[in-house]
C-alpha cells in the first residue's frame, strides 16, 4: 500500500500470566476500508480488539493512528480520537428509549433536552444504520435483538468515529437482521469510514470485507485481499492445515421405525400444533430464523418450555415431559442455544459438568464413585476431543468452542438415544465446529436420533439428512436431501408466502 494506513499496530505482544495471547502480531487498516479479522477462538482476536479499542493497556508494541504513536489510557480516550467499538454484549439500557440510548454519553446534546429534541437529533443516525423506520421514542427492549445491535452502532456513529470495530455483531442474530448489519457496513464504507469486522461467519466476511487479517495462535498473517481468497483457503490459514470438508458425509438412512414421534405438540410461541417423526440414525434439521419457534419445539420436547398440549410417542410410551428430569430419565438429551445460561456450570470443574446429568449412574446408594466418575467423564471427554487432563479445571476458563463441546459432551453420560441440540455451534470457531459436526454424525451413525435447530444457513443446509422449516411459528414444509439447497431453505424460512420482503436471490451468495 502506497499511502500510510489510518491505523497500524506492529509487533504487538500481550500475555496474561503464563498465557501468551499475542506474539508480535501486526494489524493495519486503511481509510474507507473494511478489514476482516478472523481466527479461531483463542487465536487472539478479542485481545487485539481490546488493544485497538483502548480497553487493554498492558501490551507491548507500537500503536500508530493518524500518523502518530498513540497510547490510549482508556476506551474513552480511544473513542475521543475516533475509534469506537461495538462489543458482542449489548450495552444499552433496555428500558430507555432508542433516542436516549443513542445520546447516553451526553455529549453533542444540550444539558437539558426534551425527548422530542433528542428524537429529532437521533433521526439521522438511525437512518444511517438502516433503522429510519423506527420511532426513536420507542423503548429499546421492544426492538428485536438485531435492531438493538443496530441501535448500539447508531450510538457509536453519533460520535463520528473514523474506525468502527464490530466484534461478532451477528453472532446472536437471525438471517434478516444479519443482512441489515451487512448493509450498514457497506453504507459506512461508502462514507469513508474504516470498519474492522470480527466474525466467525465466513460468508459474511467474504461479502463485505476488502481485506482479511488472519490471527493464529497469537501471530498475525499478512492481510490479504478478500477477492484473492475463498472459504477453503481462509480456513486453511486460520487452522494452519487443510480442513477438508467441514461437514461429514451423510449415509443413506433406513426410515422404518421412528425413534420418536411428536404428535400435535403445541408449545408457547408456536401458532399451531406441530407433528413430525425422527428416525434412528438420522439428523433432522429444524430450520427457521430467530422467533420462528424452533427453539420452543426443542424446549417443549425436553420439558424445558411449557406446552399447551401434545404428546411424544417414544418406546411405546406416550408422554410429555413437564420437567427436564423426565426427559433425561428416558434418554432424551437437550442442549439449549445458550450454554452460559443453562448448559454449563461455569464455576465448577469440567468433570462435574460432564457427569451432571448422570449422577445416579456414577453413585451407589447416594455415595459418589470417584473412580467411576473419572473413568466415564474421561471417556466422554476424549470423544469430544477435550483433553482429559483438563477435567479438574473450571469450565469457565475454556474457550467458546471447548465450552460448547463440554455442554454437548455432558449428555454422553446418559447414553442418549434422542439428542436435541439448539444452535450447536453458536460462537464456536471453525475447528471446533467441524469437530462438533463430526461427533454429531458419529452419534447418529451409532443409532441416535438427533434433532438440530439452527439459524445458520450453511449449517442447516449441510449437516442434516432432512429438514423441517418454520416461519414465525408455523410449520412450512419438509425438505429431503435432494431439495436441501440454501435457496430453497432460505425461501421457506424468510418468505414462504411471498409477502415481498427482501429478495431471496440477493441473500444467497
Amino acid at each position: 500500500m502506497a499511502e500510510q494506513p489510518l491505523l497500524w499496530l506492529t509487533n504487538i505482544s500481550r500475555h496474561y500470566g503464563a498465557i501468551q495471547a499475542l506474539k508480535g502480531a501486526k494489524f493495519e487498516i486503511g481509510r474507507g476500508e473494511v478489514m476482516g479479522l478472523v481466527g479461531e477462538n483463542g487465536a487472539g482476536k478479542s485481545t487485539m480488539v481490546k488493544i485497538i479499542g483502548g480497553f487493554d493497556t498492558g501490551f507491548a508494541g507500537e500503536y500508530h493512528y493518524d500518523d502518530e504513536i498513540r497510547n490510549f489510557s482508556s476506551p474513552t480516550a480511544a473513542e475521543q480520537c475516533g475509534i469506537a467499538i461495538a462489543q458482542q454484549e449489548l450495552s444499552l439500557i433496555p428500558t430507555m428509549s432508542v433516542a436516549e440510548n443513542i445520546f447516553l454519553a451526553g455529549d453533542g446534546v444540550p444539558r437539558i433536552a426534551s425527548k422530542g429534541h433528542l428524537a429529532r437529533k437521533a433521526g439521522p443516525f438511525l437512518e444511517e444504520v438502516g433503522l429510519g423506520h423506527i420511532n426513536p421514542l420507542r423503548a429499546t427492549n421492544r426492538l428485536s435483538v438485531g435492531e438493538q445491535h443496530l441501535v448500539e452502532v447508531a450510538r457509536l456513529i453519533a460520535h463520528n468515529p473514523q474506525v468502527l470495530i464490530l466484534d461478532e455483531p451477528t453472532a446472536a442474530l437471525g438471517e434478516t437482521d444479519s443482512i441489515r448489519i451487512l448493509e450498514m457496513v457497506k453504507r459506512l464504507k461508502e462514507r469513508g469510514k474504516s470498519v474492522i469486522y470480527v466474525s466467525h461467519r465466513m460468508d459474511e466476511i467474504f461479502k463485505i470485507c476488502d481485506r482479511i487479517t488472519v490471527l493464529r495462535d497469537g501471530e498475525s498473517q499478512q492481510p490479504r485481499a478478500a477477492a484473492d481468497m475463498d472459504v477453503n483457503s481462509l480456513v486453511e490459514l486460520m487452522l494452519g492445515f487443510e480442513l477438508g470438508d467441514m461437514y461429514p458425509k451423510r449415509h443413506p438412512i433406513a426410515r422404518d421405525e421412528p425413534a420418536l414421534e411428536v404428535r400435535e405438540l403445541w408449545p408457547d410461541g408456536i401458532l399451531e400444533p406441530v407433528s413430525f417423526q425422527i428416525y434412528p440414525g438420522e439428523i433432522l434439521g429444524l430450520a427457521g430464523q430467530l422467533g420462528s419457534g424452533t427453539s420452543e419445539i426443542l424446549g417443549a420436547m425436553a420439558g424445558a418450555t411449557k406446552s399447551r398440549g401434545g404428546k411424544l410417542v417414544y418406546r411405546g410410551e406416550e408422554f410429555l415431559p413437564a420437567r427436564a428430569k423426565e426427559a433425561i430419565r428416558r434418554g432424551i438429551a437437550y442442549c439449549s442455544e445458550d450454554r452460559k445460561r443453562d448448559g454449563l456450570f461455569l464455576g465448577r470443574p469440567i468433570m462435574e459438568n460432564m457427569s451432571a446429568p448422570a449422577l445416579e449412574t456414577i453413585s451407589t446408594s447416594g455415595i459418589l464413585d470417584g473412580a467411576k466418575e473419572r473413568r466415564t467423564t474421561s471417556e466422554n471427554a476424549i470423544k469430544f476431543t477435550v483433553d482429559p487432563k483438563r477435567l479438574p479445571q473450571e469450565a469457565g476458563v475454556l474457550s467458546g468452542g471447548n465450552q460448547q463441546k463440554v455442554a454437548l459432551g455432558k449428555w454422553l453420560s446418559i447414553s442418549p438415544s434422542v439428542i436435541l441440540v439448539n444452535e450447536p455451534t453458536r460462537g464456536v470457531d471453525v475447528g471446533a465446529r467441524a469437530e462438533i459436526y463430526q461427533i454429531l454424525r458419529e452419534l447418529a451413525d451409532q443409532g441416535a436420533a438427533i434433532i438440530v435447530a439452527s439459524t445458520d444457513i450453511q449449517e442447516i443446509t449441510n449437516l442434516p439428512d432432512r429438514i423441517i422449516s418454520f416461519y414465525r411459528g408455523i410449520q412450512i414444509g419438509e425438505l429431503h436431501l435432494a431439495d436441501m439447497t440454501s435457496a430453497n431453505i432460505l425461501e421457506q424460512i424468510t418468505d414462504p408466502f411471498h409477502e415481498a420482503g427482501i429478495a431471496v436471490s440477493e441473500k444467497v451468495s
Binding site: R323, G343, F345, G347, E352, I367, L368, N402
Partner: protein, 357 residues
Amino acid sequence: MSDTAAVSATGLNIIKRIRRDHSPVVIVMVGLFLVVLISGALITDDFLTWFNVKTIIRDAALVGIMAIGLTFVTLSGNFFLLSMKEIAALSIICFATLMGADWNQWGSAGGEVTTFGLLATFLVAFMITMLVATIAGAAQGALIGLGGNPIVVTLGAAGLFFGIGSWWSDNLVVSYRRPHGAEWLGTGSFFGDIPNITVAFIVIAVVAELVLRYTTFGRQVYLVGANRAAGRATGHENFGMAIKCCIIASVCAAFVAVAFSGQVSSAHVNYFSSEFGSSGDMTIMVIAIVMVGGNSIMGGYGSTLRTSLGAIFISTVDNMMVLNGFNSGARVLAVGLMIVFSIIVFALVRRGSRAVE
C-alpha cells in the same frame, strides 16, 4: 550440597508459585493478617495455652454448628436464612417447655430419678423439637423453592417463629430442674477435658464436609448453586434442594438451641438475640462466619470446612481481644473488618486463579 540446593529450589518454587498465582494485593493482605495474628498471639498472655485453645474452639462450637447448617443453604444458591436465630428461639422454647412438662417426666414415679428416665425425657423433647425445626425449615425451603425471594420469605418466617415462641412462653424464662437429660450435651465431657459440644462441632464439621464431597446430594448442592438453570436442565431441581438445605440449617439451629438450653437449664426467646458472640445477634454472627470462611454468596463455591475454619478464626480474634481487654464495641468492629477483609481477599484469590483461554 546437592540436597541443600534442591531444598532451596523447592522453597524458591513455592514463593514463585504464590507470586505467580496471586495478585500482590492478596499476598500483602494475607501477610498483614498473619503478622497481626502472630504478633497478637505473642504479646497476649495466656493466649497460647491448651486451656485457651479449648476455650476458643468451644466458643466457636455453637455458632459454628449453626453456620455449617447455613452453609448448605448458601452453597445451593439460596442465599441465607435470615431466620436462623428465630428458628433457634422457637426450638429452645419448645425444648425447654417439653423438658419441664409434667407428662414428660419418665421413670420418676417413685421419687427416685434414674439416668434412663432423664434420657427418655430428653429424647422425647429432643425429637419433637427436631420435628418442629424440620417443619419450619421445610416450609421456608418450599416457599423459596417455589420462587420466593429468600430474604422476604425468611424475614417473614423470622417474625412468625419469634412470635410463636414468645406467645408460647409468655415472653418469660422457661426453666427446668437439674439434674436433667441435656446436661451431657450442654456442659458434659466424655473425652477427658474436651467438652461434648466441642466434639459435636468437630463431628458435624467432618460429616458435613464428607457429605458435600462424596455424596450425590452434596454434588447436587454445588451444581444447583453454581447455576440453577443448568441444574434444572440436567435434572436437578432447586425445589427439593431448597427444602433439604433449609431443613439442614433449621435442624442445626435447633441442635444448637438444645445444647445451649442444656447449659443454662432454661430458655427464653431472646437468648439468641443478646447472648451470643461479640455482636450478640446470632443470625448476624452465623452469616459473618459463612462469609469470613470465603463461601460464595451466589452459591456453588465454598465448603463447610471453610465455614468451620471461619468460625474458629472469628473466635480466635475475639478471644485475643477479650484477653487484651477490648470492649464489645471494638470486637463488633473487628468482626465487621474481618468480613470485609475476607470478601476482598477471596474475591481476588478467585480472580487470580482464573486464567481464561
